[in-house]
């Protein structure tokens, strides 16, 4: 069934969008990832303008992360103080990111910019994931995984503005969380991702937070940042397509619930390799689209850019 998206200004098939939303939602349920880094490029490949894909995906993530935060609140797995400091950095990053986005858009180069960011991003994440799962598979054949996270006394502890984080049982400077939050804000606003796959390792390895509060706290920050990013894109760039967001939210919720409850027959490492391959394929497609000589050199855009 074909529907016309009011802001993206393109006709799309409703079922294709629902299935796409459900498929990415399913993957996020299985892997515990947000899925924004897959959804945004897939929307672009479907023909949605890059600016609309990014802003609308931020809107979708606001919904899914709020849903996730509620579950973690019940388990008291959110460090509010840390979350709020991350949010402060994130709001600044998001405001800067949306402004950069607006400037590049005014030059008519936002498709190129978003594509390049994604090629870089998906390329490195896909490769890392692929290599890591390969080595895990080899390791697990030899012996049980003996990896253990150690608390280190690193450069973080030399910074000023130290404060106590009760839930995380930490006494560290507020500067690193602000900077990390800032970077996540930038990523959310120019790529339409939650940034969990950067935020979570940063919380564990840089800030040294205990794993039990990491996911809840990251979702808490992501919810605020994507909500704010949605608002900023709506007011600065007018690129949030609420109809598209609604379809993706519905598809995503169903897929994620299914993904979280289904028992996958494959081993975790094998699914991770599968995910890495998907990520690399999307990256390859974006790169090829930029490099292959186009069949038509000329194109039309509307408006005064």
């Amino acid at each position: 069934m074909q529907i016309f998206l009011p802001i993206a200004d393109v006709p799309v098939d409703l079922f294709v969008l629902l299935i796409l939303g459900a498929a990415v939602g399913f993957l996020s349920g299985v892997f515990g990832i947000g899925g924004g880094f897959l959804m945004t490029p897939l929307l672009i490949l479907l023909g949605i303008p890059a600016a609309v894909a990014v802003a609308t995906e931020a809107n979708q993530i606001a919904a899914s992360s709020f849903s996730g935060v509620l579950a973690h609140l019940k388990r008291r797995a959110v460090d509010f103080k840390m979350g709020n400091i991350l949010v402060v950095g994130g709001l600044l990053g998001s405001a800067v990111g949306v402004e950069v986005f607006r400037i590049i858009k005014s030059y008519g180069q936002i498709e190129l910019f978003v594509s390049l960011c994604y090629i870089l991003f998906l390329g490195s994440i896909g490769t890392l994931m692929f290599l890591e799962s390969l080595s895990t598979i080899q390791q697990s054949r030899k012996s049980a995984n003996t990896f253990k996270h150690k608390k280190k006394h690193n450069w973080i502890h030399g910074l000023p503005f130290k404060t106590k984080f009760k839930s995380s049982n930490l006494y560290i400077s507020a500067i690193p969380p602000v900077i990390i939050g800032f970077i996540i804000g930038i990523l959310a606003s120019i790529m339409g991702v939650g940034g969990g796959f950067i935020l979570i390792p940063a919380m564990i390895y840089i800030l040294g937070m205990p794993t039990k509060v990491v996911i809840g706290t990251s979702l808490y920050q992501i919810m605020f940042i994507t909500a704010f990013t949605t608002f900023m894109h709506a007011t600065q760039n007018k690129t949030v397509d609420l109809l598209l967001a609604l379809i993706l939210i519905v598809g995503g919720v169903l897929g994620a619930q299914l993904g979280a409850r289904v028992t996958v027959k494959l081993k975790a490492e094998e699914i991770r390799i599968l995910l890495a391959i998907i990520v690399l394929l999307v990256c390859l497609k974006l790169a090829l689209d930029l490099m292959i000589t186009p069949s038509d050199l000329f194109s039309i855009t509307y408006g005064n850019e």
Partner: protein, 249 residues
């Protein structure tokens, strides 16, 4: 519909015409762009004076204006990058011209004159032309790209003439059209291209429902729209969490 045609013929036959003339009507004057809009067609019909042997009927459909940028892909470091090369300020977003007599002696001249006054005169060049023919090239690219998008057609559609007195014409609108006023102009011309008589109809194309609500507020009330989008998303996220907690209780 048939009654309308007969009424027109009756009016026409009883009116004291001495010169060539044309009267017309359309089957709909409003088109609603809903979320499900998938293109539509408008039927234009009417009557002509009996002197069609020496005259031809031109039918033009002119959509609301929009500015258009022509972009060309250039290779920079192995990557194809879009470069804006020309801009046409406020040209019709949709234009169709057809004629009852495709053998008209000055068809090419009419076509060029129309395209010039509607499109080519509004060119603003962005990059320095690489050669002397650049301006003509921009015209050609605009024409070609617009035709590919189904937004421009010149003498490709047929104007049906019945018994030298009646005419009918079908305008096919693509699924992606700009809202606004679409004018349909019927002009009787002689062999030299002189205008003998004119008739004009208009069709209002407007977004409705969800389509109208979202695009209007996104443009005109961005703060409300932004807050609304966030609230809807959070509400749905909350509902989903509640729903599944209840389902799996």
């Amino acid at each position: 519909m048939r009654a309308v045609i007969f009424a027109i013929i009756f009016l026409f036959l009883t009116s004291p015409f001495s010169l060539s003339s044309v009267i017309s009507d359309i089957d709909k004057s409003d088109i609603e762009l809903s979320t499900r809009f998938d293109g539509t067609s408008i039927l234009v019909f009417g009557a002509l004076s009996p002197e069609i042997d020496s005259t031809s009927l031109l039918v033009e459909v002119v959509g609301p204006s929009a500015s258009v940028n022509i972009r060309k892909k250039v290779q920079i470091w192995g990557i194809w990058v879009n470069k804006k090369i020309a801009h046409f300020q406020d040209i019709p977003s949709f234009y169709q011209i057809s004629i009852s007599n495709p053998e008209h002696p000055i068809l090419k001249e009419i076509e060029y004159k129309k395209l010039k006054s509607l499109f080519y005169d509004f060119l603003e060049i962005n990059s320095t032309p690489e050669d002397g023919n650049a301006v003509e090239q921009y015209y050609d690219e605009l024409t070609r790209l617009k035709k590919n998008l189904g937004k421009l057609s010149t003498f490709e559609e047929e104007v049906n003439i019945i018994d030298k007195k009646l005419f009918s014409y079908k305008v096919n609108l693509p699924k992606k059209i700009q809202p606004g006023l679409y004018k349909i102009k019927m002009t009787l011309i002689d062999q030299q291209g002189n205008e003998l008589s004119k008739s004009e109809q208009s069709v209002k194309v407007s977004k409705v429902g969800v389509q109208e609500f979202l695009s209007y507020n996104s443009k005109n009330n961005p703060i409300f729209y932004g807050l609304f989008s966030v609230i809807i998303a959070l509400f749905l996220g909350f509902s989903a969490a509640q729903l599944f907690r209840w389902l799996y209780r």
